[in-house]
C-alpha cells in the first residue's frame, strides 16, 4: 500500500518532469514503456524524489522501481520506520555471493 499523500506528490513530480497533466498518470504505468523515461530520466526523477522526501535510494533498489506504483510504494515504506524494508544491506549481498 502506498500513502495517498506520497502518491500525489510523486505523481505531481512526474507530471512536472514530463510536462503533462497529473491525471493522465496511473500507478500501473511503466516508467520506461508507458511514460517513455530512459534510464537517465529515471535517475533524474529519483533525484527529485530523494530531495522531496529527504531519503537516499541505493543503486541496488533501482531495479524494483519500474512502475509509478512501485515508486510510490517504495517511498511509502521508506518513510514508515517501523515497517521499513531496509535497503538490502551490501554486507549481506556480498556474503551471499561467496
Amino acid at each position: 500500500m502506498s500513502d495517498p499523500a506520497v502518491t500525489g506528490k510523486i505523481i505531481k513530480a512526474l507530471a512536472d518532469y514530463l510536462r503533462r497533466n497529473p491525471e493522465s498518470i496511473e500507478p500501473d504505468q511503466h516508467l520506461r514503456d508507458d511514460l517513455g523515461l530512459d534510464s537517465m530520466a529515471v535517475i533524474e526523477l529519483l533525484y527529485k524524489i530523494e530531495e522531496a522526501f529527504d531519503i537516499q535510494i541505493p543503486d541496488e533498489d533501482l531495479v524494483r522501481l519500474s512502475t509509478v506504483g512501485a515508486v510510490c510504494q517504495y517511498v511509502t515504506h521508506r518513510l514508515a520506520p517501523a515497517k521499513r524494508p531496509a535497503p538490502r544491506s551490501r554486507a549481506a549481498k556480498t556474503r551471499k555471493k561467496k
Binding site: D38, M40, Y47, E60, R90, T94, K97
Partner: protein, 418 residues
C-alpha cells in the same frame, strides 16, 4: 609504404604502476589498482554511494618535475608531464636535433584541472572574497593546460591542442595525431591522455549519475569487472598515458625502435543521448568498420580488441553486440581484454592507457588478463576473454573508446612492416 605513422615511445602513470615497466608487469599479473578512496581526507566519505577508485599511489611530483613546473599545473597535467617525459626518453628523440616546429603535442583530457578548480570555487563561494581567487586558477583549469605545459617542457613548437570528448578523449587524440602526421603537418606528435579528477565534487557527480560500482566497496579490487556477470558499474580511475607518434620515415632516419603502427582511425557520433549508448550497437559497429577501412583492413585481419568495456551493465553488452555484428563468427576467435579491469576508468586517459596496452600486446605477444572476469555473462560471452595472460602473435588490433556526448572512436594499431 609512404605515410605510415609509428609509435616509438611510451610513458605511463597508472593506478598499477608509475612507468611502463612497472605498469606492464602488474598488468600481466592481472593486478587491480582499485582501492578505497583516501584522497578526500578530511572530507568524509560517508555520503558517497561508491567508495572505491583506481588511484595513483605514491606520486610525488617533485620527484619527477622541477618545483616551478609542478606547482603551476594541476595533478592531471603533472601526470601528463611525467608520462610525456618518459615516452620521449623511451623514444630516444633528442629535441636538440629536431626542428621544433615539426614536433607537436596533442592531449586528450576529459575533466582537466579539477583539483584546483574545486578548491577555488569552494573558497570563493564560502568566503566571497574574489580577490583571493588564485592567479593561476584560469591557466590551470583551462582545458589545454596539459598540452601547453608539455610543449613548454620540451620546446615543441608544432601543432598544439587538446581533444576533449569525455571518456574517449585520448583515443581521438591518437587518431588526430596520426592524421596530423599523415597530412605532413608534423614529423612527431607527443600524444597524451590524462585525467585526475577523483575529487569530492566530480566523484559525487558520477555517483549521482548512478554510473559507478557500489557493490564492492568492501572489496575494492573486485569492483572493476568488465564483461563479468556480476559487474555493477564502472570504477573511476586516474592517470596518464603518453605515446610518441612519428612518421615511419622520420623514425627510420634516426634509427628509432618501432613498437607498432597507428594505421587507422574513425570518429563518429551516435547523435542519440548524452550518456546512454544506442542499445543495438550499430553505431559502434560502424565506427569499428570505418577505422578498419581507414587502415585498409577487413575484420579478417584483426586478431585482438582492446575493448572500451567500462564494467557497466549496458555498456559492455552493447559493445559485445557491436563486436558480433562486425566480426560474426570471428568474434570468438579474437583475443579481447579490458584494461579498465586493472586501472578503473581513467576517463580522458583511458584511450592512451588502452593504446599502450595494445601497443605492448603487439610488441610482446602478450595480452594482459581481464581482472575479475570470473563468470561469463550471456550478454557478453566472448570466447577470447580471459582472466589469464594470453600469448598471441597480434598482427592488427582495434582500440575502442566511447564517450559521453554520444561520441565513438576506434583506432587500428598494427605490427609495423616497412
Amino acid at each position: 609504404m609512404p605515410g605510415q605513422v609509428v609509435v616509438t615511445g611510451l610513458g605511463i602513470i597508472s593506478p598499477i604502476g608509475i612507468g611502463v615497466s612497472e605498469f606492464w608487469k602488474a598488468a600481466l599479473e592481472g593486478h587491480s589498482g582499485v582501492s578505497t578512496i583516501t584522497g578526500f581526507d578530511p572530507f568524509p566519505m560517508d555520503g558517497y554511494r561508491s567508495k572505491v577508485a583506481g588511484q595513483v599511489q605514491g606520486f610525488s611530483p617533485e620527484r619527477y618535475l622541477d618545483s616551478a613546473q609542478a606547482e603551476r599545473v594541476d595533478r592531471y597535467a603533472q601526470f601528463a608531464l611525467v608520462a610525456a617525459k618518459e615516452a620521449l626518453a623511451d623514444s630516444g628523440l633528442h629535441m636538440a636535433r629536431e626542428d621544433p616546429r615539426r614536433v607537436g603535442v596533442i592531449v586528450g583530457a576529459g575533466m582537466g584541472g579539477m583539483v584546483m578548480g574545486e578548491r577555488e570555487i569552494t573558497q570563493l563561494y564560502q568566503h566571497q572574497r574574489p580577490h583571493r581567487v588564485h592567479p593561476n586558477f584560469i591557466p590551470v583549469i583551462t582545458l589545454n593546460s596539459a598540452s601547453g605545459i608539455v610543449a613548454m617542457a620540451h620546446g615543441a613548437k608544432g601543432p598544439n591542442y587538446t581533444v576533449s570528448t569525455a571518456c574517449s578523449s585520448s583515443a581521438h587524440a591518437l587518431g588526430q595525431a596520426m592524421q596530423c602526421i599523415k597530412e605532413g603537418r608534423a614529423d612527431v606528435v607527443i600524444t597524451v591522455g590524462a585525467d585526475a579528477s577523483i575529487t569530492p565534487l566530480v566523484f559525487a557527480g558520477f555517483c549521482s549519475l548512478r554510473a559507478l560500482s557500489t557493490k564492492y566497496n568492501d572489496q575494492p579490487e573486485r569492483a572493476s569487472r568488465p564483461f563479468d556477470r556480476l559487474r555493477d558499474g564502472f570504477v573511476m580511475g586516474e592517470g596518464a598515458g603518453a605515446l610518441v607518434l612519428e612518421s615511419a620515415v622520420h623514425a627510420k632516419k634516426r634509427r628509432a625502435r618501432i613498437y607498432a603502427e597507428i594505421a587507422g582511425y574513425a570518429a563518429t557520433s551516435e547523435a542519440y543521448h548524452m550518456v546512454i549508448p544506442r542499445e543495438d550497437g550499430e553505431e559502434i559497429a560502424t565506427t569499428m568498420r570505418l577505422a578498419m577501412a581507414d587502415a585498409g583492413l577487413t575484420p579478417a585481419n584483426i586478431d585482438y580488441i582492446n575493448a572500451h568495456a567500462t564494467s557497466t551493465t549496458i555498456g559492455d553488452a552493447v559493445e559485445t553486440k557491436a563486436l558480433r555484428q562486425v566480426f560474426r563468427t570471428r568474434a570468438d576467435k579474437l583475443a579481447i581484454n579490458a584494461t579498465k579491469s586493472l586501472v578503473g576508468h581513467t576517463l580522458g586517459a583511458a584511450g592512451a592507457i588502452g593504446g599502450i596496452a595494445t601497443v605492448l600486446a603487439i610488441h610482446t605477444g602478450q595480452i594482459h588478463p581481464t581482472a575479475n572476469y570470473e563468470e561469463p555473462d550471456p550478454a557478453c560471452a566472448l570466447q577470447g576473454l580471459s582472466s589469464s595472460v594470453q600469448e598471441r602473435k597480434v598482427k592488427a588490433a582495434l582500440l575502442n573508446a566511447f564517450g559521453f556526448g554520444s561520441n565513438n572512436a576506434a583506432v587500428v594499431i598494427k605490427r609495423y612492416a616497412a
